[in-house]
């Protein structure tokens, strides 16, 4: 394992420390217990948005803390959800009196830790709501799984709910728009090569030179199945089809698209995927109204990509366009 790190156990702390120095104009890093808030938190009268989860997905979540997006990010150890004793003070720190929304990715660990934290914060007199992002169509949402995972859709939820909070929506309204985004967003990912968790020291799985994993998540776990390597257009089709089917996308639908790199894939390849997505959606008569192409929710240095599609309405598009000023997403501000 070769990484630009010092002690594997210090990776998260040192990285967040560096992040805090680089973006001192935007965020405050609270070291013990570890969480990150926007500089001007709490914003009085504004609903606070808190998200978090295991580290290793940067820029998610700390990179999305700032005006028009998250008020706080709570990073756990690499691929390990944070603990309530981080989430509770983060929640308190961003409560401007209008309550706090927890944006939780649907993993057992995240759910349980945020659940406990929400209960305790409520006991401390803070109104807390939670939404559960579960956009990964690679996982069947059934009694026989932990439900669909939360992956790329999280970025879109954070952006749109963040804009709603910024314009002054109350906790109910912010929760409801967040849930509407969750209901309309789906994702699917592919890995060409695994990542290596620092404390594990070996790649999370092994792929032969001619194999890829389809339906991977963001934790270096193997995907749903392994197939022979294909070209970018073929792989893109495999990512797109189940999303289109799940969302029943049809002619006239408007969308926000994210082609996301898993950390080790060059931007040039992501644009090749995006090109094919545009062709395929164009063939279906589905319009791409906004898009992101880049590394937004990663799995360390994994090679691969994910596709996220949100069926968008006017309000979502308006909120999307509202000013956002974070380390990793910025416009209009």
């Amino acid at each position: 394992m070769k990484k630009l790190i010092n002690d594997p156990r210090a990776v998260v702390n040192e990285s967040v420390e560096g992040f805090g120095i680089a973006h001192a104009d935007l965020v405050t890093v609270h070291p013990e217990p570890l969480f990150i808030t926007r500089k001007d938190a709490p914003v009085q009268g504004k609903v606070g948005l808190v998200s978090g989860g295991g580290s290793g997905h940067e820029p998610l979540h700390a990179g999305f803390v700032g005006r028009g997006m998250l008020d706080a990010a709570v990073p756990g150890a690499v691929f390990t959800s944070p603990t309530p004793d981080q989430i509770i003070p983060a929640t308190a720190a961003v409560d401007g009196g209008a309550g706090v929304l927890h944006i939780v990715k649907n993993y057992t660990g995240d759910v349980l830790n945020f659940e406990t934290a929400a209960e305790m914060a409520e006991a401390d007199g803070i109104s807390v709501r939670s939404v559960l992002v579960n956009d990964d169509v690679a996982v069947e949402d059934s009694l026989y799984t932990a439900g669909r995972r939360g992956v790329g859709g999280t970025v879109l939820v954070e952006r749109i709910a963040g804009a709603a909070a910024e314009r002054g929506d109350d906790l109910d309204a912010v929760t409801s728009i967040a849930q509407r985004v969750i209901d309309g967003v789906r994702s699917m990912g592919v890995a060409l090569a695994a990542c290596t968790v620092p404390h594990a020291g070996v790649p999370s799985f092994e792929l032969a030179e001619d194999e890829i994993e389809i339906g991977i998540g963001i934790h270096g776990e193997p995907g749903r199945h392994r197939i022979a390597m294909e070209d970018a257009d073929g792989i893109t089709q495999r990512l797109l089809d189940p999303i289109v089917a799940d969302l029943s996308l049809t002619s006239g639908d408007r969308t926000i698209i994210m082609v996301n790199g898993m950390g080790g894939t060059p931007a040039s390849e992501l644009y090749i995927v995006f090109r094919k997505v545009a062709q395929l959606l164009g063939d279906l008569g589905v319009s791409i109204d906004r898009s992101l192409v880049g590394n937004y929710i990663t799995a360390l240095e994994m090679q691969g990509a994910s596709l996220t599609i949100l069926r968008a309405d006017d309000e979502m598009l308006d909120l999307w366009d509202a000013p956002v000023h974070t380390a990793a997403l910025r416009w209009g501000a």
Binding site: G54, G76, T108, L112, N113, R149, A200
Partner: protein, 220 residues
């Protein structure tokens, strides 16, 4: 596995020995647990528990709780605030419920041991909603609880009850191998989750083994 040297009543000192023993066995099996989790999860279970029980050791060096319940409650709070992931809240709840079941007793008797394990198991099920056969730590806790209950009713000593539980947990962990996961991260893999033991079930067996060994119980 070996007979531990320690013997005596299941008092606060036993509980402390249990936790120190757990920290040691978890550290020793850190890589194994990471590897099991790497196969069907996200390669962090060993690291998470090692971090958590490492923190427990530090806590125990400071505090000296006076009842077994007080020890377990300290452990519960420490795990909740240091482990994270699924295992943090689940083990946290387990130790919290176990502590509650013990009340303020100074020494745990055989029925108390069985009750403590049942409470821990029920806490995990309450939080995680897994059933037996879902390929989770419940598949170790459930047979452990049943074996403890049976042994206690058959008149076994407290160390013997713990040993029965540990043995059953080990068997339960081994038996998760062919299962297809239906809860937790491994469930994303569908049929590909078969053929590997569940890391949480294995760590459960290690924890109960440490409990028995701390009591001088003989673990097969």
């Amino acid at each position: 596995m070996s007979v531990a040297d320690a013997t005596g009543p299941l008092d606060a000192a036993w509980a402390v020995r249990w936790m120190r023993g757990t920290a040691q066995v978890v550290a020793e099996n850190r890589a194994l647990l990471i590897d099991l989790d790497r196969a069907i999860g996200d390669a962090d279970h060993g690291e998470n528990l090692d971090r958590g029980f490492g923190a427990v050791l530090l806590k125990l060096d400071g505090d000296a709780p006076e009842t077994p319940a007080a020890v377990l409650k300290l452990v519960a709070m420490t795990l909740m605030s240091t482990v994270g992931g699924a295992a943090g809240p689940l083990y946290g709840t387990a130790f919290l419920r176990a502590a509650t079941s013990l009340g303020d007793t100074g020494t745990v008797d055989p029925a108390g041991v069985a009750g403590m394990i049942a409470a821990a198991r029920d806490g995990i099920v309450a939080r995680g909603k897994a059933e037996v056969g879902d390929k989770t730590m419940v598949d170790a806790w459930t047979p452990a609880s049943e074996a403890a209950e049976t042994a206690a009713q058959a008149g076994a000593t407290a160390p013997e009850v713990l040993a029965a539980a540990a043995n059953a947990a080990h068997a339960g962990a081994v038996a998760t191998e062919p299962l297809i996961a239906r809860k937790g991260r491994a469930s994303y893999l569908g049929e590909r989750s078969a053929g590997h033991q569940d890391p949480g079930a294995v760590s459960t067996a290690l924890i109960l083994q440490a409990a028995a060994e701390a009591a001088g119980g003989e673990v097969a």
